[in-house]
Amino acid sequence: MLSPDEVYGVLNSVMDPEVPVISVVELGIVRDVAILNDAVTITITPTYSGCPAMREIEADIRTALVARGVHDVSVKLVLSPAWTTDWIGPEAREKLRAYGIAPPGRAEPQGLITLTRSRVAVPCPFCRSNDTRLQSEFGSTACKAIHVCNSCRQPFDEFKAL
């Protein structure tokens, strides 16, 4: 039977299907690993409520563990505490940048907000310039927005802070 560390090792090889450079562990969605005799229970939390990748991720986790000889795998979904991009660590942020996705800024505090947002320019992941503009608040997946760099003229994705 695998130890908890070994299970985390396996999960570290399960990549986010939409952003295949960071693992589900780095993304912060693995909330718990429980091992009881031959059974492994992985608790995950969704990024966005409607994220269609969650089912894919669940299947990928199962496949990866079965490949390592764990046959009794349960994947449990919890909503609380709600996922935040603050759980993405510095190394994973650098991987996102290298992949061409600007990493998320700091998440907003809980509770209500002011409607007029203070816009801080998102640094370009390619040339690091701060001279960028927001092109679209929504992007190719629920977790991304689209910006354009005025310096290198490159459009790029931003991982939205949540």
Partner: protein, 266 residues
């Protein structure tokens, strides 16, 4: 997927048998119906960015509906899951407010409807995230984060349309005037609310919610240089299953695949 089950609305005089189930249906149906309405824009948005935005918001809302209806199914205890509740109920058993089923109309109607609902939804989630029902509080805290993003988007568009060209301003005002009569229902308080407050510790002060909502709406309407309607002849009925004719048409489209191929998976 459970077996399809069809039922008609309970007679009005019957006390609410399972108020928490009923309450969760209201929350879930609001988001399911609005999410489907927004998805109708997919491929038809006025600009590419907005096409993506409306589809993304639809995805979030349908995600919230999925969590809420799954919880409703558990509470009901009849073996119905989120899919069974979404696809195998008739219009008369839907509990959404009328506002969210109003057809998309032009872009101004869609955006103003979205803004009026987002403002309500954010305030409601904020309150529900502190309620004593653990399952609902978790859904509320998660949905709140996503809806805040929607609210900023829709409120910025209301300002842009209202304070834009003569054409966009006229359409935004027309949308506000048309939709206003459907906003009263959002803050109605009835026996279901009393019962969930007593049994499930979900106590929402609708008057306080309404006044916070009005402050928020007034602020944006003012910045958009639009005029707040004064017509107070509010239309209601959705919470009891009395819907406009457009809900049935919408559900026919939404439910046809699931009903033609019950239990299908891919």
């Amino acid at each position: 997927m459970t077996e399809p089950s069809f039922q008609v609305a309970a007679p009005r005089s019957t006390p609410v048998a399972n108020p928490l189930f009923e309450y969760l249906l209201r929350l879930g149906d609001d988001r399911l119906v609005l999410g489907h309405r927004l998805s109708e824009w997919c491929g038809h948005g006025p600009i590419l960015e907005e096409d993506i935005a409306l589809s993304n918001m639809a995805l979030d809302l349908i995600g919230h509906a999925s969590s809420l209806l799954a919880l409703a199914g558990e509470i009901e205890g009849q073996g119905r899951d989120a899919d069974a509740l979404a696809y195998f109920r008739e219009a008369v058993t839907f509990r959404n407010a009328l506002l969210v089923e109003i057809p998309n109309g032009d872009f101004a109607v869609t955006i103003v409807r979205q803004f009026l609902f987002d403002a309500y939804s954010v305030l409601l989630w904020d309150a529900l995230s502190r309620c004593e029902h653990e399952g609902l509080a978790a859904i509320a805290a998660k949905s709140l984060k996503e809806d805040k993003y929607h609210l900023r988007h829709s409120s910025e568009w209301v300002v842009r349309l209202g304070d834009g060209t003569d054409e966009s301003r006229a359409r935004a005002q027309q949308a506000l005037d048309t939709l206003w009569r459907f906003t009263g229902e959002l803050f109605d308080h009835d026996a279901v609310d009393d019962a969930v407050a007593a049994e499930a510790f979900i106590a929402i002060d609708h008057d306080a919610l309404h006044s916070l909502w009005l402050t928020m709406v007034k602020d944006v309407v003012q910045r958009a240089t639009l005029t707040l309607p004064t017509d107070a002849a509010m239309r209601r009925g959705g919470r009891r299953g009395f819907h406009t004719e457009s809900l049935g048409h919408m559900l026919a489209t939404m439910q046809i695949v699931a009903r033609s191929h019950p239990g299908a998976s891919w």
